[in-house]
Subunit: 202 residues, 4 copies
DNA sequence: GATGAATGAGCATTCATTCAT
DNA sequence: CATGAATGAATGCTCATTCAT
């Protein structure tokens, strides 16, 4: 799971990563509220004190996990966008990066879905709002580059993201919760094609 | 909120409805786990005992609320489907009924999103699974009527629902969480048109 | 179980008996505190109100059951004593009536052991004390009849009952709790013989 | 009360002992079910959490207390048996150790009587059954030593313990519940003599 | 009388967090 | 820095009892 492994070097960071990993598993398995600090402590064989030292409190841990997922997802999206040129390329980049990230990091994706409500209502809601804003800004900027994005101009700006990513997100949720079996990666082309058709004027 | 008012007559049922209503508000405002029975009790001015008498325990209340939402949503969908004839009509019925229900019952829709994880992992998961199965069966049967559904045959069956409803769901979520301002009803035609294009072969 | 059946005639009394019977079973199976009025209600298919009507409250039911057992046990003891003549006969009457009653009414005997603490500390403790006094008086009087009881005069009065009944009681407890298999009735002669030897001066 | 004081050294153990002591008093005074954790907490001036930390839950506390009593009683019995040689000595050892222990630890003895039902039906019943088995084994082994126990061979094995200890137990119960005034210690010789006569063949 | 829905004080238990060692 | 025992407010839930019908 390079998401954690690539981040920090050193002994200290190793413990931090172990805690995050253990917390992720517990949160996904038991639910966030149902997970106790003690469970996480057992799962990564450390002390309560250590967890509090690194993350302040339970909400800090929840948020750290959420922001790590956001950042990793953003990195992949930016990679894909960097290689794209046309509007169609951009739509593909959004759908592919989304689908590929979920398929590669299903645990983090599942967590992201479940944790959003808590984080966006907890003490880190402002930090989340700001990160969201930055993300939207980046995507918006990409689609505002000269010679790109005109194809989307016919649609309300607030609707476009849903048109592009909605089907992919919907299928990914179904896959993560086990309601469908095939990996979203198997359908990435259909999903990208459908997204493109959704926003194209005939 | 006709969702509750139409269901049961009589004094007894009145208390039951008041509890459901109060619980819905608390769950949406504070979050399910953060809501205490005491908060609900205050909100509908009854006794703890009465709540337990009617719903068994907190999870029973959470589930009762969830199933009430499901049923109300299903009723509207069936209404719309009953009036539809062609495949295109069917797609429209799915998108319109979804959008209209969310726009009409935003509290119930918001709750449905937030409660799904808890219900599908709690003691009522089997009941939920069965209700889901029935719902899928009904929709599937509609699209299997003679002369209908061939247009969707080119797509994997497990992918089709996401292609049809994904964008609408995505925008509804954004609206319910306040990230976008315009009611999904304003975009129902665009969303239905996009859905249709998603599943149409050129 | 003639203990209850012989007591009251009529429809009303029938319900009262049914409640007592159900309560006895519940108390013995679950323990007195762990038994709820609701459990008893289900077991005898009546209403909570009916139980309260007949016994006032839970403690009243507990006491009524206890006193019924005492009375039935006393009746048998008095029967046996009425037929006895010598001191030895009296000792036999005590041991035999005790053993025979336990063997015939194991449920009531078990209950009597378990309920004593609660009753003797609850609101009926005075009534219990008085009934105990009467019982002791009766036995004492029997052993004070002319020509009887001198054989016991060498032993402290407060010790004699334990010397006579102790072994029988100990074995009955063991039998009721399943620690030994053979009915105490099989050993009634040995127990009576041992009791007699316990209080006999060599 | 050396029963607790002799067991564990150190600060930690001190709290544990204080909790046990407080629980014993509360259980004996109010009854086990009627005692709340809060009462115990007040009685030993600690926190609820500390009680749960050390004993898991109320039933764990009840059992710990019960097993402590069993062990202390067994220690005294083994002391007495170690010094005994003949069968008569053995019978005396059983009666004397029983009487002396009750007289020395009346609180623990009273508790043992009251708690048996709960422990033998609760989550520690298996542990209790096993400890009982071990105890019986030890006594049985003592009476199976060469040259000992033949005097008891005429009586059914399952009856012998009741014949030996029944009267003593009966009197001890009466004393603990206040029905008789004199300490059982005053009658230990009579009780041992009676026990011996109970099992002796004329 | 009989019924059982409603009441609400009271309880066992949990668990995030602190802080002395 | 690390540890984990101790804390205690807070919660879900129970159940004896009442009383309107």
């Amino acid at each position: 799971m390079e998401l954690l492994e690539s981040s920090y070097p050193g002994r200290r960071a190793e413990l931090k990563r172990a805690i995050l990993r253990a917390a992720l598993d517990c949160f996904n398995t038991q639910g966030i509220e149902a997970t106790t600090i003690e469970m996480i402590r057992v799962a990564c064989d450390t002390s309560v004190g250590a967890i509090y030292h690194h993350f302040g409190n339970k909400e800090g841990l929840v948020a750290a996990l959420f922001f790590a997922a956001m950042q990793d997802q953003a990195a992949l999206r930016n990679d894909y966008l960097a290689k794209a040129e046309t509007t169609r390329d951009g739509v593909n980049a959004l759908v592919f990066s989304y689908v590929d990230w979920v398929a590669r990091q299903p645990d983090w994706a599942r967590y992201q879905f479940n944790a959003r409500f808590v984080v966006s209502n907890g003490p880190f809601k402002d930090e989340l709002a700001q990160k969201n804003k930055i993300r939207n800004q980046q995507v918006k900027e990409w689609f505002s580059r000269p010679g790109v994005g005109q194809e989307l101009a016919n649609y309300p700006a607030e609707l476009v993201p849903s048109l592009i990513i909605g089907s992919a997100e919907s299928y990914c949720r179904a896959w993560l919760s086990g309601r469908v079996k095939k990996s979203p990666k198997a359908y990435r082309d259909i999903l990208a094609e459908a997204a493109w058709r959704s926003v194209s004027t005939m």
